[in-house]
Amino acid sequence: MSLSIIFICFFALLTLSVPVSVVLVTTTAIYLFFVAQTPLTSLIQQLFNGLDNFVLLGVPFFILAGNIMAEGAISDRLVNVMKLFVGRFTGGLAMSSVLACMFFAAISGSSPATVIAIGSIMIPALIKEGYGERFSIGLLTSSGSLGILIPPSIPMILYALVMNVSVAEIFLAGFLPGIFIGCCLMAYSYVRSKRHGWHSSVRYTFKEGLTIIKDGFWALLLPFLVLGGIYGGIFTPTEAAAVSVVYALFVELFIYKELKIRKLFVVCRDSAILSGCLLFILSCAMTFIWLLTVEQIPVKLAEFIIKNVDSKWLFLLAINGVFLIIGALMDIVTAVIVISPILVETLSRYDIDFVHFGIIMIVNIECGFLTPPFGLNLFVSMAIVRRSLVDIGRAILPFLLLFLLCLLVITYVPQLSTLLPKLFLR
């Protein structure tokens, strides 16, 4: 009875296109008021407690740092360095785009910021160099999503919070899968370029190379500073986020000098609004999760799943399928935040590592960002190249398939995710 009330409310409001945050909190409120008959002031308490956590500060900071760098010159310098390294090979420009995305991913925690930063430079450059238009759009839209798999990563912070795992651990777990997907993308670029004869004309003299390295030095230093700081035990992930904001500001304002103060204000405002909405969803989601836990839904669900699904491998496959569908319908980050805590009990009964599951979820989010019609990255690319959603959707398809293959590998080879944390942190 009570369960059906929760689900009817939830899905009715969701299909009406009520904002997801409001859906979550309204469902909780209706349940508390009519079924549990508890005073709703406890709801306010939960909303407050959900946000009262120092770890969460990392979210707005990483959003801000990513946006500052996407707006400024750091991304430009990174692209130049990567061109220097792999630009001379067949398909070199495409491969250097992927590398630049991977590197930018290691300083920013957001996928749309990565697409904006690298995509707005590289998509036009690739097309100008004679690469296929669809290929160029698809490549950058999809490699941009590495932004959330290679640490730092905003969704990972949220996941770590709702699942009670350490942020540092899940950050480290994202490394190998991120590099793996990056290599797959580069291999795919190489094969396509070879077949279509997209040869490279990028050549640098030694002196030019030196200037590029010198120019890109400040951009190249950042990931070592941020990640080195976290794993060297110097600061926490939240503090690392603040360090990268200040570092990005310093480099953009005083070294590259291309960011205008006026623009900086707009970037700050937009980042604050975006993170306000994200954290608002989180605080609403926390009330909903709290409700589900009080109702013992995780345990009931675990019993149901264990009875009906034979092996954990089948379960993981099913979960991936479910998230693929959800990703095509709604905001996937919220879905992961709400659904993962419900599965806690199931995961521990199947003996699935929470960190490994987290990485699976992150790759699912990446796929969700790329699935038409509501994938976030698609909209970002739409704005960059001014094409219709249908065009972008068509361009992304082969890359989406590639991502799904990688998702399967990451799901069924847990060592890829757990190796580094086990070696260094456990």
Partner: protein, 171 residues
């Protein structure tokens, strides 16, 4: 009157950006001080958390205007335009009403907290102060939801094509 509202909006947007940047710089300074001279502000984490909550509700309220709140648009995208407008009118009214709950119960909760006389552990700040952000920004948030609802209703009456009505987001 419009000028006054414009000014209010600008103050709001300025402050939310400055809070974020300020918090980042402060956290950086705190980190540097701790690492170099091992000096920590005992109140810092609490202070930052409360400002985070303040900024979140402020940002979420402004976000309504810019349409940064995610919703599932599967149904509204595939039904005829007039029905989309009606759906949106209802959805935003519900949102407005739901957020009004935050105002009502937020005030109730604050009154209760004042009654208990609780103070925050590190700063010794009366505990009701950080809670104030929730009802205050819920007022503006629910107002903005109702404005959106009203705009869609007008478009429904005039039979205009369906498009999202909020301001353009720059990102």
């Amino acid at each position: 009157m419009n000028k006054f509202i414009d000014k209010l909006n600008r103050i709001e947007e300025w402050s939310v950006g400055i809070i974020l940047l300020g918090l980042a710089v402060l956290t950086f300074i705190e980190t540097v001080l701790r690492y170099t001279i091992s000096y920590t502000f005992p109140w810092f984490q609490e202070f930052a958390n409360y400002f985070l909550i303040f900024g979140t509700y402020l940002g979420a309220s402004i976000g309504v205007k810019y349409g940064t709140h995610f919703s599932m648009e599967a149904l509204t995208e595939c039904v005829p335009d007039r029905i989309s407008h009606i759906l949106k009118t209802i959805a935003y009214s519900i949102s407005g009403l739901a957020v009004m709950l935050f105002i009502f119960y937020g005030i109730k909760h604050i009154k209760a907290v004042i009654g208990f006389g609780v103070k925050s552990p590190a700063m010794q700040l009366p505990m009701y102060i950080p809670y104030i952000a929730i009802p205050v920004f819920s007022v503006t948030m629910s107002f903005r939801f109702f404005v959106l609802s009203w705009t869609h209703f007008k478009k429904f009456l005039k039979n205009e094509p369906y498009a999202k009505v909020h301001k353009k987001v720059s990102r």
